[in-house]
Each structure stands twice: as structure tokens, then as C-alpha cells.
Assembly symmetry: C2
Homo-oligomer: 345 residues x 2
DNA sequence: ACACAGGATGTTATCGATGCCAATACTCGG
DNA sequence: CCGAGTATTGGCATCGATAACATCCTGTGT
């Protein structure tokens, strides 16, 4: 029925085959294909013709074995469907591809040290030249230190080891933008539903929120905590909605924000008339669910691209000093925030 | 400041180093590590001890060069943030990892034949043993045929080439569940906002919808078309909301459904009182946006796992006959659908 | 005690590309 | 027209693991 006939010869052509057809040595073929300067134009043409004729493609395994360069980077992510974690990967793959690198993914189900060690080890086994860690490192084990020391590593929104460079969105700024926006609308204070404290971005937002309030001379109310899921936003909303003087909430993610809004709704509170809500991420639905959500957009694609750029720089020059980099978030005002009503008015 | 000291020796230990420490030959080490039966327990222990002591890890490039097995599979996806495309990858990575395989991702920005060829070629270059194509193949070029013939390939929700096995969610069934649900609620007919017709799952849903209506003796109304994005759902909603007798809409994705609902809202139509809406996917927010969305849940994780299982079977036995497989979707009734009001009542 | 089956281990060649060094072909100045 | 000097090119060893084949042990039956 179906025949998996590989090549006529039984196996794909090797460089030697190309050399034979082109009438040169393998060495010349190698040089011609890797753009070495001292190959005569005419020779290069002959080689390319042979390559074309045979449908030759370089064997990456052989190249890698010999040269140590796999042209592959690894990506460690937590296996969730939370929007933000997914959005960066797209930017990463894009930038990597642009630079001629492939991306091998290793997802972990938990944030256990051992799970992350496992993911790193798997990537190392597959010969990646560098790794992008898009998970928060709760606890940096010795083994992780070892692995990140032996392979160039970039952490996104994470804590750093002494061998790890960090690329991050300025989450404190995100929190500041959101909190200030609400204060400027005249709200007396701003409540906060944070993400899990193991996540550095969650705790940065939390700190940013707290500091902004303090700068403005307000006492931060107690912080609530979610797990990024809409359900956890909802659960927190059932609590928050019962506290009389809550008029403004900054939520650490859009998905939680919509969960919150639904809970408030069920408790008879209107958004934004009674309570204003700001999220973070600017997911695709932020504009289209009701009410459309005021949120802080994160430049996910740029973050990914920046991480790749830094990683490649570090792969190219292992001694390059780590330079923390960050990108700026942006407030997008929509319909979930409104001026505070004059109290008692 | 930071020293990228690799190993003390200057380079990672090789199998020969292990053999030296264990006092055996490399071959025995190889056998011990790949679970070959005829290795004495005592010898295996010595080898494992040496491995442990040296922190040895197999060099995948070398193994691959010699044996042709990279223990890596490739995944081609379209670079979008549309929920469904993302959700399967998580199932794929999980199942692959379970089986000891790594996943290398190649995203394409467009569905051009050449873009897909490029993605496949990149994966082939990196020595993947098989490929999962999670993009619709609009036009199967000769080159794609070649590539899929030389590498085991599974297509998810896509059209098949003569060398490609297909794993799919039964999209016709999804459409049937949604449409029938609406008809059972007493709606005279059901409108449909479809996804891009290049996507096989979109057109399967469209056909399923049309057939169900015809089976029930209704004439299908004209079909509207979106591009999976919330914005396109919104745009279609602005049209649909102006047609007087529309009371039920089946939308090909949740994100478009929420766009539709927002447009209807703005036109003064209430969901579900005036118009019932059913989506597809069951995204995390489906339950938490207002109104919570009646939708057809797709078993994304299983789909991914199934694709991997089939692919590995095919890798193991290249002559195994392709067996199309499909998994069943499930209707989840929430608050966006309601019984039709007695017309004129 | 001897030969033999079969398990356990060692040897050698090999996968395909590339770094290093040697060898050849070509250029130009004198 | 020749030699120095450079532009091209080729030969060989090599990366690390494994397949195939060879060898060396055990234990066992008669």
C-alpha cells in the first residue's frame, strides 16, 4: 500500500556523494557549503549544482559531533495553558529560526527542583547549545547550578543563578501603571489579586503595587492570592465582592481578572460602575469579553526575541558579561475602569 | 566574574572515559546503558557507578550519527496564539517525553506551501525521526510529498497525503452536537460562523453543521466566515445582529464566539435571551466570561497523545498501515444558550 | 574429565562532516 | 620567463557511540 522508499540508493546522499558528482573533494564541498571565502566561484557553482541534483542536505548529527555546534537551543516551560507563558514561546521560536537555530522544547509539569533538573538534563542530552528558562526557579539546586554553568542560559522573568542572565518585562512598572491609573481615577486605594508567589513576575507585580500605594501615601490593603487560573480569580472575587469599600482591583493576569469580574457580577456588583478592574497580559479576548478589560500589555514577542538575542550572544562569546535586560509594558485603557464615584454621593 | 568552566578535563566525559573507570570496554558500557540483556548484573553496576562518578551523559549526536535514531520528533505549527493550536502541543510534548523523545518545534508564519516545506526541511535537517503536522495542508506540493514520504508523518486535523496518517477530533460530530443542541432548544434554524476554509477542522465543522440541519429538514442559512480571531467574530456579529430572525448561532471557536457576543451586545441583543450562541474549544475563559459559554470541548491533550502514539508506532514499524484515528468531542452546556421563545409570543 | 552451548565481553570498522596541515594552482613583480 | 606569495584544494585524523563479528568464559551433559 504505502512504501517508505527512502532514496533510490537506500540512504540519503552524504557529502562524499556530492564530492563525487561535483568532481571535488569532500573538503571543498564542506567549504563551499559553509561559505568559506577561499573557494572559487566556479567550484562553488559546481558543488551547488551537485547538491541540487542529489537533493543533498547536511547531516546535522555529524556536524554536531565534529564541531560541537547543534544549532539548537532548548526551551524550558511549565506545562500550562496560561496565556503569557505560551505567548513568549512564539517570539522565541521566531527569533531562533531567524538566526538559523531550531528550538527543542522541554515542558515540566511541576516546579520541583527535580522536574526542572530533568528538563535541563534532557535538553543537555540532546545537545542544545543554550537554554531559555521560562519558568521561575524556586529553589536553585546544586545540579541546576552545574547545568546552567555548563550551558549558556537565559532566564525569562525568573530569578538568576550566578551563571544565568535574565531577560524580563519590567513587572514593577506594569504594576505601577495599573495602580497609578486606578488612583488617578480617584479611587481611595487599590486591592490586588496576585499570582503564585513562586513566580518572580507575580511577586514583582505585587511589590510594584505595594510601593506605588505607599508612595502615594496609602496603606496597601491585604493581598489576595490566585494561581493564574480564571477559577482562582473567581474564588477570590467571591471574597472581595463582599468587602464593602472595595472599588478598585489590580489583578495579576487577565484570566484571573475575568474570573473576578464574573464573581463580582454574581454578587450584584457592576464593573466598572461599582468596582474598577485592571488586568495584565492583554490577551486576545481582553477587548472582546464584557466588559472589555483595561489591562497592561506585555510585549511577549519582543521578550522572546530579546531572550534569544542575548542567548546567542552568550553562545558566541561565553565570556560576555551578563547584562540584565528588560522591556517596557504598556497600559491599555478599556471599559473595566471608571472614575470613582464621590463617596456617599 | 562568571567562569564557564566546563568539566575539569576541558570537555565532558565520553563513553571511553566511563569504560576506563569501570574497567571494561566501551561496548560493554554501551550495552549496559541501553539495557542489553546479556550484561552481568555486577558489570552493569560497575558501569553505572562509573557513570555516576563521572557525571557521564550519552552524546546524542554520536548515537544518532551511528544509529540513525535521534529520539526527537518534530512539530510543525502555525505561529498564532489561537488557543486550540497551542493546547495540543502540550499533550504532544508530554506524550513524547513519556516515550523518551524530545520535541523540536518549527513554526511557520503562513500556510504557503513553501513555508511548510521550509519547516519540514528544517526539521529533517535536524534529524527528527518523525513529524507531527499540526497545520492544515492547503496544497500538497511535490516536495512536501517527498518529505513526508521519507519521514514518518502524522497530520492533526489535516488533509492527508498518501504517506500521511491522520489523527483528528471528530469535528463533524462537534458541529452535530452543537447544532442539535440548539435545534432541541426549539430554535428554527442555526446560523454558523466558520473558520478559514483552508483549515480542515473548520470545513468539517461547517459540513457537519450543514448536514445536521438538512437531516432535520431545515434549509441551512448562508454561512459567515471568520479567521479564528475574536475580532473576526465581532465583525461577523455586527452583520448577524442586524438580521431579524437570527436566534441561534454556532461559532467555530470560542474566541470568535465571544467576539460575536460582544457585537450582539452592542447592537442591543441579549445572549442568550434573544440569541443563543455555542462555541468550540472550551477555552479556560469559556466558563468565566459573561455569559459563560456553551461550547464543544475538544480533548486536546488526548489528541496530542494519540498523534504521538501513532507516530511512534510508525517510526518503529515503517510498514505499518496508516490507521486514521479520531477522538470524540463533548458538549458542555452553560449560560449562552436558552430555549427559543415562542415566536410572536 | 571433555566437549559444547550459549552467555558475557572485547575488537574493529563505521556513521558524515570538519579542523588541521600539506600540496597544488594561480597571481604578479622584476 | 622565474620565483615569491597567495588563493584553492586535497588527505587524514577525529568527534563518540554502536553494529557486526570475534573471543572468551561459564556451566552442563555424558
Amino acid at each position: 500500500m504505502k512504501e517508505r522508499t527512502r532514496e533510490a540508493a537506500g540512504r540519503p546522499p552524504a557529502m562524499a556523494d556530492v564530492a563525487r558528482v561535483a568532481g571535488t573533494s569532500v573538503q571543498t564541498v564542506s567549504r563551499a557549503l559553509s561559505g568559506h571565502p577561499s573557494v572559487r566561484e566556479k567550484t562553488r557553482a559546481k558543488v551547488l549544482a551537485a547538491v541540487d541534483q542529489l537533493g543533498y542536505r547536511k547531516n546535522n548529527a555529524a556536524r554536531m559531533l565534529r564541531s560541537g555546534h547543534s544549532r539548537t537551543i532548548g526551551l524550558v516551560t511549565l506545562q500550562t495553558n496560561f496565556y503569557s507563558r505560551i505567548a513568549v514561546t512564539s517570539g522565541i521560536e521566531d527569533a531562533a529560526h531567524e538566526a538559523g537555530y531550531a528550538v527543542t522544547a522541554a515542558t515540566t509539569k511541576s516546579l520541583d527542583t527535580s522536574a526542572i533538573e530533568g528538563a535541563l538534563a534532557r535538553l543537555a542530552d540532546h545537545g542544545v547549545e543554550g537554554v531559555i528558562l521560562a519558568v521561575p526557579l524556586i529553589h536553585v539546586s546544586e545540579r541546576i547550578e552545574d547545568l546552567t554553568r555548563s550551558i549558556p542560559t537565559i532566564t525569562i522573568d525568573g530569578s538568576r543563578t550566578d551563571a544565568t542572565e535574565v531577560v524580563a518585562v519590567d513587572q514593577a512598572m506594569a504594576a505601577r501603571l495599573a495602580t497609578r491609573h486606578l488612583l488617578e481615577l480617584g479611587h481611595g486605594t487599590v486591592w490586588h489579586i496576585a499570582g503564585p508567589s513562586e513566580w518572580l513576575d507575580a511577586s514583582s507585580r505585587s511589590t510594584g503595587w505595594r510601593l506605588t500605594l505607599e508612595e502615594e501615601g496609602r496603606t496597601p490593603p491585604p493581598e489576595l492570592k490566585g494561581d493564574w487560573s480564571p477559577a482562582s480569580g473567581y474564588a477570590n472575587g467571591l471574597v472581595l465582592g463582599r468587602i464593602p469599600d472595595v472599588t478598585a482591583v489590580f489583578v495579576a493576569s487577565d484570566e484571573m481578572a475575568f474570573g473576578l469580574i464574573r464573581a463580582l457580577h454574581e454578587l450584584g456588583k457592576r464593573v466598572p460602575e461599582d468596582i474598577s478592574v485592571v488586568g495584565v497580559d492583554d490577551i486576545a479576548l481582553a477587548e472582546y469579553c464584557s466588559p472589555s478589560l483595561t489591562t497592561v500589555a506585555q510585549p511577549f514577542a519582543e521578550t522572546g526575541a530579546l531572550a534569544v538575542a542575548h542567548l546567542l550572544r552568550q553562545i558566541a562569546d561565553a565570556d560576555a558579561a551578563p547584562e540584565p535586560a528588560s522591556v517596557e509594558p504598556r497600559l491599555i485603557v478599556r471599559a473595566s475602569t471608571a472614575p470613582a464615584r464621590a463617596s456617599g454621593g
